[in-house]
C-alpha cells in the first residue's frame, strides 16, 4: 500500500434531498492517511455531501467508494462491512444522552466485539484518554462542555479503530484554544495511528494547520471549485472565489 492510494473516491455524485440536487458532479479522492477537508461557505452543501458519503442518504446520482466498495450500491453485508471501516463525529457530538461517556464509547465495542467486559472497559478508557477525557468517564454528556462532547464524540467514533474518521464541523462553537487542541489531536491521530480524516469545516485556522488537502465547494456553482493543498490554493489559485475563501475576503475584494 502506498501513501497516495485513494481510500475514499467520490465519483460523479449529485447529492440533495427529495430529488433536488444541492451539489452536483462531485468528483474527488481522499488518500490513505491524509487529513482531508471538505470546505465551503455556509449553505454550500458540505454537510449534505458528508451525509451522502457516509450512506445516511441515497444520492441522486453517482458513487462513493470507501475502501474500494461502493456504499451506494452495496448489499446489506457489504454495507455493514463498509460501516465498520469508518467512524463519524457529528456536529453536536451526538452522544447518547442517557449513557455516561464510558458507556457511549463502550457501546460499539459491546455490539461488535467478543472482548471480555474488563477489556472493553479498558479499551474505552484508553480511547477517552486519547482525547484527554480520562477524568470524565462517569459523566453524562449533558454535564460536559461543547468541546468535551465533541472530543468524546471522537473517542466513540474511534472505538473500533476505524481507518477513516468523518467529522462534521469539529471546531464549530469551540473557543480558539480548544479548537487548536482538537486540531493537534487530529494531527496526532493521523500521524501516529495512520487514521484518514475527512473533515467538513470552514474554520480557516484549522484548515492551514491540520489539513493536507481540501476540496472547496461553492453555493452558486453547486459543486467543487477547487481541490488541492489549501496553502497552495490560497497563494496560487487564479479563481477569485477560491482566493476569497482562503484569504477571508469578500469576493469583491479578491477580484
Amino acid at each position: 500500500m502506498t501513501a497516495t492510494e485513494p481510500i475514499i473516491r467520490v465519483v460523479d455524485l449529485d447529492a440533495g434531498y427529495d430529488g433536488v440536487a444541492i451539489v452536483q458532479d462531485i468528483n474527488f479522492e481522499v488518500r490513505r492517511g491524509e487529513v482531508f477537508g471538505i470546505l465551503g461557505g455556509s449553505g454550500c452543501g458540505k454537510s449534505t455531501l458528508l451525509k451522502h458519503m457516509i450512506g445516511l442518504y441515497e444520492p441522486i446520482r453517482g458513487h462513493v467508494y470507501i475502501g474500494g466498495d461502493d456504499i451506494v450500491t452495496a448489499d446489506e453485508a457489504t454495507h455493514a462491512a463498509i460501516l465498520r471501516r469508518f467512524g463519524v463525529m457529528y456536529q453536536s457530538g451526538a452522544l447518547f444522552g442517557s449513557m455516561t461517556l464510558l458507556e457511549n464509547v463502550r457501546l460499539p465495542l459491546e455490539e461488535y466485539t467478543d472482548l471480555p467486559d474488563d477489556a472493553i472497559d479498558l479499551v474505552a478508557r484508553m480511547k477517552l484518554e486519547l482525547v484527554g477525557l480520562e477524568g470524565f468517564t462517569g459523566h453524562l454528556p449533558a454535564e460536559l462542555s461543547g468541546g468535551m462532547q465533541k472530543r468524546a464524540g471522537i473517542a466513540r467514533a474511534m472505538a473500533l479503530d476505524p481507518s477513516i474518521l468523518f467529522m462534521d464541523e469539529p471546531s464549530s462553537g469551540l473557543d480558539p484554544i480548544t479548537a487548536a487542541s482538537l486540531d493537534a489531536t487530529i494531527r496526532r491521530l493521523a500521524e501516529n495511528l495512520g487514521v484518514t480524516f475527512a473533515i467538513v469545516t470552514h474554520d480557516l485556522g484549522s484548515i492551514f494547520v491540520a489539513m493536507d488537502r481540501v476540496v472547496l465547494l461553492d453555493r452558486k456553482a453547486k459543486g467543487v471549485i477547487a481541490v488541492g493543498d489549501p496553502r497552495r490554493l490560497r497563494d496560487e489559485s487564479d479563481d477569485p472565489r477560491v482566493r476569497a475563501f482562503f484569504r477571508r475576503e469578500s469576493e469583491a475584494q479578491a477580484a
Partner: protein, 383 residues
C-alpha cells in the same frame, strides 16, 4: 402640486418632505430632518406617490438637510430607486456616511423578491401531492411494522442481543412509575361507575348487580382501555419525545453509521418493556377499580365480602382473559406508535412536540378502533 410641506421640520426627531417641480421639468423631493423607522411612515407614501405620478420625468431626491439616516431611512431611497421607470431617479447631497450606507444595496437586486414562495399548483396537483403523502406515510408504517417484527423475531432468537438494562429501565419508567396514576384513575372510575349505576338500580332493589357491572366492565373493557390510554399519554408521548430528540441531535444517525439498526436498538427494548408491564398494570387497574366500586357499595349497605362474591360469580376466567389478551395488543400499539412517531421526527425543536402530540392522538384513536374490533371479534366468537 407645487411646494407642499407635509410635516413640520422644526423638531429634532421629525422628518419633512418638500416636493417641487423644477424649471427643467424634473421633480425635486427635498427631505430634511431625521430619517428612521419612527419617522419614515410620515413621508413613505407621499414620496412614493410623488415619484409614481410622473413616470416619465426625472426625479431629484435632495438629502442635503437630512441630519440622520439609519437602515430604515435608506430603505426610502432604495424604494424610490428600485422601480424601473422612464425618467431617471437621482439621490443627491447625501452625507458621506449615508452615501456609504446606500451604496451597500443594489436597487435592481431588490426590485423583486428573488426567492418568492413557490405558488401553489392547481387543485388537482395539490390533491395528488396529498395522496402521495398519505401513500408515503402508509408505506413508512408498513415498513416500520415489518422492521419491528423482524427485530422482535431476532430478539426472540437471540435474547442476548437485547439491551436488557434498557428494558428494565423502561419497565420502571413505563410500569412502576405509572402505578399511582393508574391506581387513581381506576379507583375513581370504579367509584363513579358504582355510584352512577347504584342509584337507579336501588329503585329496583338490584344494587347487588352493580358488582357484576363493575366486575365485567373493569376487568374486560375499561381496565385494559383506560390503562392503555394512560400509557399512550405517558409512555407513548415519552417514547416519541425521547426518540425524536435523539433524531434531532443526530443520535439516530450515529446509530445508523455505527451499523446499529435504530429499530432493533431503540424500538425493541421499548416494546418488550411495555408488553411486559401493560398486562400487569391492567390487572392492577381492574383490581383497584373493583376496590373503588366495593367502597362505594359500602354506602349502599353491601359489604365487601358480598360484593366480591358477586363479582366472583359474575366474572368468568374467559372475561378476565378477554381483557388480558387485549392489553398485550394495546401495549404493542402504544409502544409501536410512540417509537414510530419519534423516528419520523423532522428537524427543529417544535418537531419533537409535534411527534409527541401525534403519538398520543394516533395512539388513542388506534386503541379505540382496535378495542371496537376486539368487541366485534369477541361477539362473533361468542366470548
Amino acid at each position: 402640486m407645487n411646494s407642499a410641506a407635509l410635516a413640520p421640520a422644526s423638531a429634532l426627531d421629525v422628518v419633512a418632505l418638500a416636493i417641487r417641480d423644477l424649471p427643467d421639468g424634473r421633480r425635486l423631493l427635498a427631505l430634511s430632518g431625521r430619517l428612521d423607522s419612527a419617522t419614515l411612515p410620515a413621508v413613505w407614501e407621499s414620496a412614493r406617490r410623488a415619484v409614481r405620478e410622473v413616470p416619465s420625468r426625472g426625479i431629484v431626491v435632495d438629502a442635503a438637510a437630512v441630519d440622520y439616516c439609519d437602515g430604515a431611512g435608506v430603505a426610502l431611497f432604495v424604494e424610490l430607486l428600485r422601480h424601473p421607470r422612464d425618467g431617471k431617479v437621482e439621490v443627491v447631497n447625501l452625507k458621506p456616511a449615508q452615501a456609504t450606507l446606500l451604496e451597500q444595496f443594489d436597487p435592481r437586486v431588490l426590485e423583486h423578491d428573488l426567492d418568492p414562495e413557490v405558488p401553489r399548483g392547481p387543485a388537482i396537483e395539490e390533491v395528488g401531492r396529498a395522496a402521495h403523502g398519505v401513500w408515503r406515510d402508509i408505506r413508512v408504517q408498513v415498513e416500520f411494522v415489518g422492521e419491528t417484527t423482524a427485530a422482535l423475531a431476532h430478539a426472540a432468537r437471540h435474547p442476548r442481543s437485547v439491551r436488557w438494562r434498557d428494558v428494565w429501565q423502561i419497565c420502571e419508567r413505563a410500569g412502576v412509575d405509572a402505578l399511582p396514576i393508574v391506581a387513581l384513575i381506576s379507583f375513581l372510575l370504579g367509584m363513579i361507575l358504582a355510584f352512577q349505576s347504584a342509584v337507579p338500580m336501588k329503585r329496583f332493589g338490584a344494587e347487588i348487580f352493580v358488582a357484576d357491572l363493575i366486575g365485567l366492565s373493569m376487568l374486560r373493557e375499561l381496565g385494559p382501555l383506560m390503562t392503555a390510554i394512560l400509557l399512550a399519554g405517558r409512555s407513548g408521548a415519552a417514547f416519541a419525545a425521547e426518540i425524536g430528540t435523539m433524531r434531532v441531535n443526530q443520535e439516530v444517525d450515529a446509530l445508523t453509521t455505527m451499523g446499529l439498526n435504530p429499530v432493533r436498538f431503540l424500538v425493541t427494548p421499548r416494546i418488550i418493556a411495555v408488553v411486559l408491564m401493560t398486562p400487569l398494570l391492567t390487572i392492577f387497574s381492574g383490581l383497584v377499580g373493583l376496590l373503588g366500586g366495593a367502597l362505594t357499595m359500602q354506602t349502599f349497605a353491601i359489604p365487601f365480602t358480598t360484593f366480591f362474591k358477586e363479582v366472583d360469580s359474575a366474572v368468568t376466567l374467559t372475561d378476565f382473559m378477554a381483557g388480558f389478551v387485549k392489553s398485550f395488543v394495546f401495549a404493542i400499539l402504544v409502544a409501536g406508535i410512540g417509537c414510530l412517531r419519534g423516528l419520523q421526527t423532522a428537524a427543529g425543536a417544535s418537531a419533537v412536540g409535534d411527534s409527541a402530540t401525534r403519538a398520543v392522538v394516533s395512539g388513542i384513536i388506534l386503541l379505540v378502533v382496535v378495542d371496537g374490533l376486539f368487541a366485534y371479534a369477541y361477539y362473533v366468537l361468542g366470548i
